[in-house]
């Protein structure tokens, strides 16, 4: 190399048009192959989603009927429905969200408005992010230890608390993200008018971040609506009609779990109907949340 340089030729590889063309073809081919593989992986991902949705629609709709919504769980072969599970899920998910949301909003507000850059704030943010991805079955075990064992039995309330714990980090994340997007000039303007800080946060910051915060709440509802593992050890499930939160309470995911694992055809069919219900509502909530957020951006 150095020899050829001293000989006065141009530095760099020898220019041979045929070699260059072959190299170019090889690079282009590698590029085309990778592109094709990437399109392929995306198609595979979409195919999984399609397969899940088609299976659910096909098996769910064949099992769907008025009984699903009007009757409680009955022994196999006697035309039961999922009414108790649907109502139980609605009660637990809405109460869990109602308890978890204010806490989550306050934590998110603390992180965005009070604790920017502070050590305690960083720690809270870290722990909240860990809780967001931590296995939900452990939340169930924890609530079993603190609420089921000491109070002598499985109860709807224990399920509500477990779901609330799962709601908190979801709401924290979106609340903080949305509040940090608000320009500081807006805060300065409000404080400049002589408003106390809490009024600034509640009436200006929360208000202008409202659609984002609601997105977070919708996502949290979608998340807890499908949670099974934390409810197994807390509200347990109930084959009868129960709206008393101090007793074991049915929920759709737990009902699906026990029915899908049973050997009875009609129970498995009911499980598919329940699965279709849950998935449709969860996906609808997700799409609604995204539309809200897109409108904002």
């Amino acid at each position: 190399m150095s020899l050829s340089m001293t000989a006065g030729s141009v530095p760099g590889p020898r220019k041979d048009p045929e070699v260059a063309a072959a190299l170019g073809r090889r690079r282009k081919r590698a590029d085309r192959i990778v592109r094709a593989l990437c399109v392929g992986s995306t198609l595979i991902g979409l195919a999984f989603l399609a397969s899940i949705l088609i299976t659910l629609t096909y098996r769910g709709f064949t099992a769907m009927g008025p009984n699903v919504f009007t009757r409680v769980t009955a022994p196999p072969g006697s035309d039961g429905g999922l009414l108790n599970a649907i109502v139980g899920s609605l009660i637990q998910a809405s109460l869990g969200t109602a308890i978890g949301t204010p806490i989550g909003m306050l934590v998110g507000t603390y992180l965005a408005e009070y604790a920017r850059g502070s050590k305690f704030g960083n720690m809270v943010r870290f722990v909240s992010d860990i809780l967001l991805s931590a296995p939900s079955i452990l939340v169930g075990l924890f609530v079993y230890q603190i609420l089921v064992l000491p109070f002598g039995g499985f109860s709807g309330w224990a399920g509500v608390v477990a779901l609330a714990i799962i709601v908190i980090p979801v709401v924290v994340r979106t609340t903080e993200d949305m509040l940090t997007l608000i320009p500081n000039t807006l805060r300065e303007a409000v404080i400049g008018l002589g408003s106390p800080k809490w009024k600034m946060i509640v009436f200006v910051c929360w208000k202008s971040a409202m659609s984002g915060i609601i997105t977070g709440i919708l996502l949290a509802i979608a998340r807890v609506a499908g949670e099974t593992a934390p409810l197994l050890f807390t509200s347990l499930g109930n084959n009868g009609w129960a709206t008393d939160l101090t007793r074991p309470m049915a929920s759709l995911p737990v009902a699906i779990y026990s029915m899908a694992g049973s050997p009875f055809e009609d129970w498995i069919a009911l499980a598919w109907a329940g699965a279709l219900l849950i998935t449709l509502s969860v996906l609808a909530l997700n799409i609604l949340a995204r539309t809200l957020l897109r409108g904002r951006k």
Partner: protein
Amino acid sequence: MSQAATASSATISHSARRGGNLGDLIFEWACRGSGLLVLVLLGAIIIELFIAGLPAFRAFGIDFIWSTDWDPVQEVFGAGVSIYGTIVTAVLAIFLAVPLAFGVAFYLTELAPTWLRGPVGTAIELLAAVPSIIYGMWGFFVIAPAFAAHIQPWIIDNAGELPLIGFLFQGAPFGTGIFTASFILAIMILPFIAATMRDVFQQVPPVYKESAYGLGATTWEVMRGVVLPYTRISVVGGIMLGLGRALGETMAVTFVIGNANRISTSLFGPGNTIASLVALEFGESETGSLKLASLLALGFILFVLSFIVLATSRYLLRSRLKA
């Protein structure tokens, strides 16, 4: 009034007015208290699980972690098989999911036409929204039979006789088992890894990519030579996030892993994971029994495992979080 008007934003956030503004005081402490509550919550989960698992740790000592016994009749319990299953399924899921996730992220950031990026990105993210139990049913009633009838016999015929790695693919094609569980897990964590990769790929300054394109680089060369080196730490962070998710998945795995307490050399053999074992056996354990304590001790081990992985992931992703 004039003082307040000239105050900069920095002093606003730090000086709570001490002039007896009770509302401010209450609100700030409500926020701070909620933050504290989150810290206490995580601490309480760790401590409660540890205390509840203590009888098992006492009875079996440190051997509990690698002992492969699980005998409810003689009250001998060990975590070896389920820890093995948890780690093997999660790691295998990562190997299956990462190439796919990379392909999806590459497609969404560089290849797809702009009008298609939104819908396709949303569809992939919806995979993350589908509840775990739905994956379980789908895996059990659709994927496992398909594996048993077509895919596993083919792999066993073609790879079962290979030297060195052949033993991984031997045995009967049940459909359920370690491999099927990893496969379902891979689909479940795909959207998390793909979304992280897409976000960090988008953060590469366009001028870097344009310089490479200007030199005549192909799209793939730009990805390999510019985008990946620039984002590799965050990419690993995204993969760790997926791993953390895979470790603790419960319902989907419970449906398809076959639930047997033994370590099989074949990937098609049945097994269990910490989460699936807890979900299955918890209902059959009496309050105060050694079995229940062992299950809670397993929960504690799972918590430690996922905490380490998730904390690493967050550490690696910190540059992205700041941006």
